[in-house]
């Protein structure tokens, strides 16, 4: 029997409702341990909807939800399945998923629901190939996503911690594999202390994960354009007209100004980037690299140009999917009244080929255009042409692996000999490796011969 899996099965942060799906032989017990309703869970009939609340580990109510209990085999996957429909907020949705993990569910692998549906005979034979294609393409997305998230500080931290763990394991292993060589001895007590030290760092990391994640999640929108076209003005106006959640997001070291605002319930992170242009100035070069990175990581791009000046199209090279870009032609107030319409038409003619109907001519200084820009953005979200990356799921998966690694490290407290400890430590390293994509066993052997001079 395969283990029980859980995932958020709706796009996160969009729409009023999110659905968390749990599937597998323990789906009911996982759901039962977090769900409270008038009807006891066992008495809920299959394929019915029940109103209730989801509680966190302390018994606090997280959200009022609708729960759909479906008994195998008549479910999508063919296994016992529970769907929890909650209010679409990112925090709540994530927290419910985390509760499912805490109660024994595992993060679903790419394409796993569909795979199970197929394996249990719920998907037609003809569709098997589509399923097989789906798995690797979803895995690729997840992997890319993980990579983009793992860039920078946090990834270095996890890699660093894992590397220290591998050091510790290889030290133990070299003692066990080469007991007579003069390598410094490490005792079970030393090992346990070191394991606790590593666990402590992972615990800090996981808290940090939680804090920072709340801030960083949302629709990433890069605001790009040449210098002095009005990018900052746009951001200021956007903040002025919408609820600002956070300004100057902590933990960013890049020269990109970020603000997080609430636009009709959609969480949007605006990133003001440096202008992109060829330059020899070192400092400016770095700024440009950061801008490219911001575009790369973004879900949508707002391109701003000064309607009074010829626009530069160099930047279009960096925007991979122009369907996710909106063009703002700013400073219409500086145009002569009698030439205005003609000039706008002229400017739009070429840009239309690229941006289609997503061009807005306005004067940001005069507080025009902001609503239109965001309406276009929402249209694109609703039409599905831009979709937020499922960073929440990836994040939760990382968190789960880190939590499991901590558990293994804590297990070492029970072991009395270093051979026992080595097994727990290796399991911990395997968990961290699932985040960084590395396997422990080969690394340990390599490290032994890298660090120690041994062999007859």
């Amino acid at each position: 029997m395969e283990h029980t899996i859980a995932a958020i099965s709706t796009p996160v942060g969009v729409g009023g409702i999110s659905v968390i799906r749990i599937s597998g032989s323990n789906a009911f017990s996982v759901a039962k341990s977090m769900f409270k309703s008038k009807t006891p869970f066992e008495s809920i009939k299959s394929h019915t909807v029940t109103y209730g609340t989801v509680q966190d580990e302390k018994g606090n109510t997280l959200d009022h939800v609708l729960l759909l209990k479906m008994q195998a085999p008549k479910t999508y996957t063919g296994e016992d399945t529970v769907e929890i429909h909650c209010h679409g907020g990112i925090y709540v949705t994530k927290k419910i998923l985390a509760m499912a993990y805490a109660n024994g569910a595992h993060p679903a692998q790419p394409g796993e629901f569909t795979k199970r549906a197929f394996v249990n005979g719920h998907i037609d034979l003809m569709e098997a190939e589509a399923v097989m294609d789906l798995i690797n393409s979803e895995a690729e997305d997840t992997y890319k996503e993980a990579l983009s998230q793992m860039k920078g500080e946090k990834s270095l931290q996890i890699k660093g911690i894992r590397s220290e763990l591998i050091d510790l394991i290889s030290h133990i292993m070299v003692m066990m594999d080469y007991p007579e060589y003069d390598v410094e001895k490490i005792t079970a007590k030393d090992t346990k202390e070191k394991a606790e030290e590593i666990a402590k760092r992972l615990r800090i990391l996981i808290e940090d994960f939680d804090n920072r994640r709340i801030i960083r999640e949302g629709l990433n929108v890069a605001v790009v354009g040449d210098v002095n076209v009005g990018k900052s003005t746009f951001i200021n106006r956007a903040c002025g007209q919408n609820r600002v959640i956070v300004t100057d997001i902590a933990g960013t070291t890049r020269d990109v100004v970020e603000v997080k605002i609430d636009i009709k319930g959609l969480c949007v992170i605006l990133k003001d980037t440096a202008g992109i242009r060829s330059t020899d100035n070192e400092i400016e070069k770095i700024g440009i690299e950061k801008s490219k990175e911001a575009i790369e990581e973004s879900d949508a791009v707002i391109y701003i140009a000064d309607i009074n000046r010829p626009y530069k199209d160099e930047i279009f090279n960096y925007i991979k999917d122009m369907n996710k870009a909106i063009c703002v032609l700013n400073k219409t107030d500086l145009l002569l009244e009698n030439e205005r319409d003609k000039h706008i038409k002229f400017m739009e003619r070429d840009l239309k080929k690229i941006f289609k109907d997503r061009i807005i001519a306005c004067s940001l200084d005069k507080k025009e255009g902001i609503n239109e820009i965001f309406d276009k953005l929402l249209d694109m979200v609703n039409a599905g042409s831009i979709r937020q990356k499922d960073s929440v799921i990836t994040n939760e998966r990382h968190k789960k692996h880190i939590a499991d690694a901590i558990k293994y490290l804590e297990n070492t407290k029970e072991g009395s000999f270093i051979d026992m400890l080595s097994v727990d430590l290796t399991c911990a390293a395997e968990e961290l490796g699932k985040i960084t994509g590395e396997t422990a066993s080969a690394d340990i052997v390599d490290r032994i011969f890298e660090k120690f001079c041994i062999g007859k």
Binding site: D133, N136, S170, D419, K456
Partner: protein, 626 residues
């Protein structure tokens, strides 16, 4: 033309086990060797066992092999390594009287029914049109027919000896190389690789000043390798420890340009596990000294093995650097250190039975598969012998998996991951090491040895009795309650936490720092069973939690091993697999989903795709049948 069921090519450690297993399983077997006087030779260190390797020897013995018995009979020193690191990694290692070992192994072959021994160089293997083994041809042009041929040629295939700037065709210990076999097999489509290894000098005992070294003594009492050996009582011979120094390192650095390793003369892939002293100095430049162990080659010889000083430097440099070591100032060389290059097979061409995937009835075992070490060779030898015999008898193959034996880890690593350097068994390679202990090798493997006919009824009955004794003792310890009145003084004496209500003896034993023998203080009913049986009960109780955890991991592992990939699958045609995975899978042709998952370059997503594919095939088949 003389007919055999099984012909074994080579009578080293792999060849001997292979030949004995096959003959003992009732098949007409022959073993051909270049030189009858080199049967079971140890051209490198005169010792058997060691970390992970000791496990292999015990496992070979538990299956009904020979290595452990010969080692027990000819050892001159024995140690149980890793006593302080925990029972999972206890490892037996013995210094062996090398000549005596050879004599005993040769005599074992000679007295074995169903087994012929003949001095021949096998130059070619003959195949039918369907790539099925028919027989072999020797250097004298004699032909022998066989249903299976096991290649166990060690480092002899196109072997080349390198000592500094001289090099010549030659096998280990001044023996002839086998120059034709690998070429002929390559022409038939077998992929060869070129590996390199080396050995230090042998020096005269009388030229060593042992007073400047520290003696390394054996353990008492001696724990035998073989589960059938009762007791070993001998006067143990010490080894000695000394160190290299700055002077030694300077000599080596000064002469690096004369080392064929650095001048590019040696092209074979070297071993990280047995680095030459030059390698150590270059790679670990900061290390001020390296250990050098002096090991006796036997009782009736004054040759001493200088462990740690393997080298391919010219002879004059070798002598200069050896003489710079404390205690070796006046050392007299008897054999020079040398490096050896040889042909071996890419083990990815093999099945888990060690039979070639594309050549039916052709097996390979030992260093010819890219492994290193006597024990690794013997382990493959016995498995190749068993499987060749089972196949001829039309019985199911015997494949040990990673959760059953170090032998399983060794063979699975070789045939699934391949190797780029001579492969050494290591504790760290075994993920289920807490259940693959040397003490329980018989529990894991003796029933299998009995089933295939390598363990006789008498030994099996004894084994069952032992298992029964252990089981009963564990039950007794778990039942036996000790009152606080008796237990607390016992605990106080040991600075352990005292108790308020009764405690079982098992729970006492589980505490850190308490061992089985301590229980005599509080228990006058300890049964009169063998020491090994008590030890086994102790380990099983102390490790209980960990053993359970590992068994759960094994359960997960087995699930994936049980999902088989039928041989007809064309991996290249499976949609959804990444290209890298397609190539790797097509090359290695894994037999199970579990094995596929261990191939580097095959991702978890690829495994999911394969899973769906298998399911699709099953359903297609079912639909057709309906």
């Amino acid at each position: 033309m003389k007919e055999y069921d099984v012909i074994v090519v080579g009578a080293g450690h792999a060849g001997c086990e292979a030949a004995l297993a096959s003959a003992r399983m009732g098949l007409k077997t022959a073993v051909f060797t270049l030189n009858l006087d080199s049967i079971a030779n140890m051209p490198c260190n005169p010792s058997i066992g060691g970390t992970a390797k000791g496990h292999l020897v015990r496992e070979i013995d538990a299956l009904g092999g020979q290595m452990g018995k010969c080692a027990d009979a000819t050892l001159i020193q024995s140690k149980m390594l890793n006593r302080s690191s925990g029972p999972a990694v206890y490892s037996l290692r013995a210094q062996i009287d090398r000549r005596q070992y050879q004599i005993m192994m040769k005599h074992t072959l000679e007295t074995q029914t169903n087994l012929d021994i003949r001095q021949y160089e096998v130059t070619d293997v003959i195949f039918s049109d369907e790539n099925k083994v028919i027989g072999v041809i020797t250097n004298t042009n004699a032909k022998f027919s066989a249903k299976a041929v096991i290649i166990a040629t060690g480092t002899y295939l196109k072997a080349r000896i390198i000592i500094g700037d001289t090099s010549y065709e030659g096998g280990p210990d001044g023996l002839f190389p086998a120059n034709k076999l690998s070429l002929n097999l390559e022409q038939k489509g077998i992929k060869l690789r070129r590996f390199k290894t080396g050995t230090p000098a042998r020096v005269h005992k009388d030229s060593i000043d042992f007073t400047k070294m520290s003696a390394q003594n054996g353990d008492e009492p001696i724990v035998p390798f073989s589960f059938e050996t009762d007791k070993i009582v001998i006067d143990q011979i010490p080894c000695y420890l000394t160190y290299t120094n700055k002077n030694t390192h300077d000599i080596i650095r000064r002469n690096l340009d004369r080392s064929p390793l650095y001048s590019g003369k040696i092209s074979g892939t070297g071993v990280r596990y047995c680095p030459s002293i030059e390698d150590k100095i270059v790679k670990f430049a900061d290390k001020e000294r390296h250990q050098v162990f002096i090991e006796p080659m036997g009782l009736m010889t004054d040759e001493m093995y200088v462990q740690g000083m393997s080298s391919s430097m010219p002879e004059d440099v070798q002598e200069e650097m050896y003489k710079s070591i404390e205690g070796l100032e006046n050392v007299v060389f008897m054999r020079s250190a040398y490096a050896i290059e040889y042909d071996c097979f890419d083990p990815l061409q093999l099945l888990h039975t060690l039979e070639f995937k594309n050549f039916h009835g052709l097996y390979s075992a030992g260093q010819s598969n890219g492994s290193s070490g006597y024990e690794e060779a013997a382990a493959q030898g016995i498995m190749a012998g068993i499987n060749a015999a089972l196949k001829i008898k039309n019985s199911h193959a015997l494949v040990l998996d990673r959760s059953q034996a170090y032998i399983g880890v060794l063979i699975d690593d070789l045939v699934t991951k391949g190797t780029n350097e001579p492969y050494r068994m290591m504790t760290s390679r075994s993920e289920y090491r807490l259940i693959l202990r040397q003490d329980n090798a018989d529990e894991r493997l003796t029933p299998k040895g009995y089933e295939i006919g390598l363990i006789n009824q008498e030994r099996y009955t004894k084994f069952l009795l032992k298992m029964d004794n252990i089981e009963k003792e564990i039950e007794r310890l778990k039942r036996k309650n000790v009152s606080p009145k008796i237990a607390n003084p016992f605990f106080e004496k040991r600075n352990q936490q005292t108790i308020n209500s009764g405690i079982t003896e098992a729970a006492i034993l589980k505490r850190e720092g308490i061992s089985y023998k301590d229980l005599y203080e509080i228990d006058d009913q300890i049964p009169d069973i063998a020491i090994e049986e008590k030890e086994e009960a102790e380990i099983k109780i102390k490790y209980e939690g960990y053993i359970e955890k590992q068994l759960k991991q094994v359960e997960q592992f087995k699930k994936m091993e049980k999902i088989l990939l039928p041989g007809y699958i064309d991996f290249k045609k499976i949609t959804g697999l990444r290209n890298e995975a397609k190539q790797k899978l097509d090359n290695i042709k894994p037999i199970s989903l579990g094995m596929a998952g261990r191939i580097s370059g095959v991702s978890p997503a690829d495994i999911q795709v394969l899973y769906v594919y298998i399911e699709q095939q099953k359903r297609k088949k079912k639909e057709i049948e309906e």
